[in-house]
């Protein structure tokens, strides 16, 4: 009953239980945080805008992205993955989401940033619908915890419009 094996087993089981409990509590404590992030994006220039040989529209633009995501960070946050997506509707597709830029924020010190960039991923439509198209720019973020549940949210910034003509 009090052999070495039993004691080792009991100790191990207890240690694992406590560890699991602490992990669960760390994950739960994230939901006590109510973040208030802010983001602002300015489209500075349409670098070029054309129809590809296969018939799909493609556009390249330069943007100014600024955001303050410091309030997303808690003690259980490993990193925040942030990306900016263009979202629009076409006759064929009820939703198009195209990631234009993304970044990994490793710590709270880097969570208030300002970046001047052209789109990192190609902005290509499935078709020829981009001329004069109104689109939303949406700042999404995915919080990766040290352990536990991942969560995500976004800020939608409506009212952007592409030019009427190719250039």
């Amino acid at each position: 009953m009090h052999s070495f094996g039993y004691r080792a087993n009991a100790l191990f089981t207890f240690a694992i239980t406590i560890l699991a409990l602490v992990c669960a509590m760390a994950s739960l404590s994230d939901s006590l945080n109510s973040p208030s992030p802010s983001a602002h994006v300015q489209v500075l220039n349409i670098n070029w805008f054309q129809k590809q040989p296969n018939g799909n529209d493609e556009v390249s633009m330069t943007m100014n992205i600024s955001a303050d995501l410091q309030s997303l960070f808690t003690w259980n946050t490993k990193q925040v993955f942030v990306f900016l997506a263009a979202e629009y509707e076409t006759p064929k597709n009820s939703l198009n989401q195209i990631s234009l830029w993304d970044g990994i924020i490793p710590s709270k010190e880097h969570a208030k940033f300002w970046i001047h960039t052209s789109n990192k991923y190609r902005f290509i439509d499935q078709g020829r619908n981009l001329r004069g198209k109104e689109f939303n720019l949406t700042m999404h973020w995915h919080v990766m915890p040290k352990t536990g549940k991942m969560f995500a949210d976004k800020i939608v910034m409506p009212g952007y419009r592409l030019p009427e003509e190719y250039r």
């Binding site: 990306f83 989401q97 195209i98 990994i104 499935q126 995500a152």
Partner: protein, 179 residues
């Protein structure tokens, strides 16, 4: 090491009735593990509710040996979500992030993925000539995360001998336990 001698004694003194009890309790352990796995499959709706990250393509978010909990629901797939997908002609599922979504009126969807730590998107990993993933390629989306625990399975698949030693030791423990 007195407990090895004790163990040997207890193996010698096994009666037929005791042997049956041990067999039943061993069976209980195996079936309860199976029940938990199948229940997880039902709850999450994913054919593999837990996956182990095998590559560093999602670093620094997910490292090799981390465990991801999957969930498969009817909710539409959106950009930014981390999905697990199977490409035709590849056996090992891949865990990457969705960067582009084109969803048609009837709900059919075209998805492009990329690993956070990879330079380019995943079109090179897809089957020859495949440009998009469809709904049926997706096995689930990652909802939760547990670090390091997956190393156990990585070690066991890469060094099978450790697996056999472990199973043997556990089996011996179950057989020789007195209650």
């Amino acid at each position: 090491m007195g407990w090895i001698g004790e163990t040997m004694d207890s193996i010698k003194s096994i009666q037929i009735r005791q042997l049956l009890t041990q067999a039943v309790s061993l069976g209980m352990i195996v079936t309860s593990a199976l029940i938990i796995w199948k229940a997880l499959m039902c709850i999450t709706g994913s054919e593999s509710p837990v996956v182990v990250v095998l590559s560093g393509s999602m670093e620094p978010g997910f490292k090799r040996g981390d465990i991801l909990f999957l969930h498969m629901s009817k909710d539409p797939i959106r950009a930014g979500e981390i999905v697990v997908f199977n490409v035709d002609g590849r056996e090992i599922p891949i865990v990457h992030r969705v960067i582009k979504v084109h969803e048609r009126q009837d709900g059919e969807v075209d998805i492009l993925t990329k690993g956070d730590n990879n330079y380019g998107d995943d079109r090179l990993l897809y089957a020859q000539g495949q440009l998009w993933l469809q709904r049926h390629h997706i096995m689930g989306r990652a909802v939760g995360f547990l670090p390091y625990v997956g190393w156990v399975t990585i070690i066991m698949t890469e060094k099978p001998i450790i697996k056999y030693i472990l199973i043997g030791a556990l089996g011996l423990l179950v057989i020789t336990s007195k209650d």
